[in-house]
Amino acid sequence: MLEEVATSTEGDLVINVGPQHPATHGVLHLVITLNGETIKKVEPHLGYIHRSIEKMCESLTYRQFIYVTSRMDYLSAHINNHACALCVEKAMQIEVPERAQVIRVIMDELTRIASHELWWGAMAMDIGAFTPFFHAFRERETINDIMEETCGARLTMNYMVPGGVMIDLHPDFQRKVKEFIKLFRSKVHEYDELVTGNIIFRSRMKDVGFLSKEDAISFGCTGPTARGSGVSCDIRKLYPYDVYNKVQFEEVLETGGDSLARYMVRIREMHQSISIIEQLIDNIPEGDFQAKTKAVLKLPKGEFYTRVETARGELGLYIVSEGATTPYRIKFRSPGFSNLSALDTMARGSKLGDLVAMMGTLDLVIPDIDR
């Protein structure tokens, strides 16, 4: 297949970026038609890591299927689990204890920061700066350590269950999170000094990969990708879940629509996440961390849809239930899949080097696209 798609037509140069390529951060395969260095067309070929999670879930119970979703967008594992838990709770009308809700939101925001840290390092690496990656990992490791203490895992935590969270917080959790906030605040200025303010970086990002507001909506872009184009689409604000309606935070919007705007949205979002954690960390209510639920969950007959905001955008979970212990059909509306569809429009007419920067600002996680 590779031979076939890489055959050039009309004298253009057709190159395969991926499935193994340093810039695709996974097994994304883009077939790019070039005229010199200028991009004429970008065509994604997916499926190299498709595990058919939707089909798998059809034979898993409502307690089991959550663990599979950690492997979709592995950088937002908590948030994927959160979506599943929310959907089951909504269908079964389970009242989640306040303590569990607060814990979930703190964990979500820590995940979001960790994900954005990784994105920041990887994106800087895409445009040729190698050092920021290690600086980003310094802070990210701290978050992973915090996660490990409480959840027992560093990446695919599987911490959220229908009705609350699996186990109670580690006694050191609050102290460690506060230490992390202190560390983050003392180091975050380095990000701006090292990358954001750099003149080469700015000239690489400014007016590159433009995505208009209309296109962003039409392509179904969500998350920082759409907010960089000025589309208000933060599910945490629009359809608040758990305790998001009780905390003060600002939906980060930029109007530039270019790579720099998308970059700035994520940088500013990290600060918002920190502020959410700060508001909640001292106010974790006492009580149960899990509602009492039956051992075997059975969803009533019907269709249920939940939306949550992952680090990449809106994750939709559509469950069709026939009243059995396993779902009849599950559909994950993953943010990466829709964001990727806008890449062709963004990239046409720009240089090959810019494509890499654009893919960086889309923050693609391939298992999330392929599911």
């Binding site: 392509f219 849809y305 939709g316 509306r333 990727l340």
Partner: protein, 152 residues
């Protein structure tokens, strides 16, 4: 618009539309033949403005297939679920990829997973599955793969 207002407006547009009760959003069942016209009106009608197609999928009900479109308006913040019943053997429906661009990739996914033929789709090819999978539709309930599927 509230759900009630939406209902009246949609009934004006498509008199044959059937509403399903239950669920947080209103569910409309339309005939696949009426869908292209209805979709265009949903997008362009001044009071509706459903500009954001946030989920497009298909459900295999064994007797028939059902296309499910989740629509939202970024202007009015109202949501709508449109469903269209398709025939099991030769499922086909008009594409909406020229109305909502995101539909292009989503429809390609549904095409290979369920075998739904989207009429007038600009580029209806396999997206996720490798070559040689045309005609096999892994997400259908009757799909069998004795090698890779393990029955629990």
């Amino acid at each position: 618009m509230t759900n009630e207002e939406l209902k009246t407006r949609i009934t004006e547009l498509v008199p044959s539309a059937a509403f399903e009760e239950g669920g947080e959003w209103i569910n409309v069942n339309v005939d696949p033949g009426e869908w292209p016209g209805f979709a265009r009106q949903l997008r362009s009608d001044a009071g509706l403005q459903f500009d954001y197609l946030f989920c497009l999928t298909c459900v295999d009900w064994k007797t028939h297939l059902a296309m499910v479109y989740h629509l939202s308006s970024t202007l009015f913040r109202h949501n709508l679920v449109v469903k269209a019943k398709l025939d099991n053997h030769t499922p086909q429906i008009e594409t909406v990829s020229h109305i909502w661009k995101t539909a292009e990739l989503h429809e390609r996914e549904v095409y290979e997973m369920f075998g739904v033929n989207f009429l007038n789709h600009p580029d209806l090819r396999l997206l996720i599955l490798p070559e040689g999978w045309e005609g096999k539709n892994p997400m259908r309930k009757d799909f069998e793969d004795p090698v890779n599927m393990i029955k629990l």
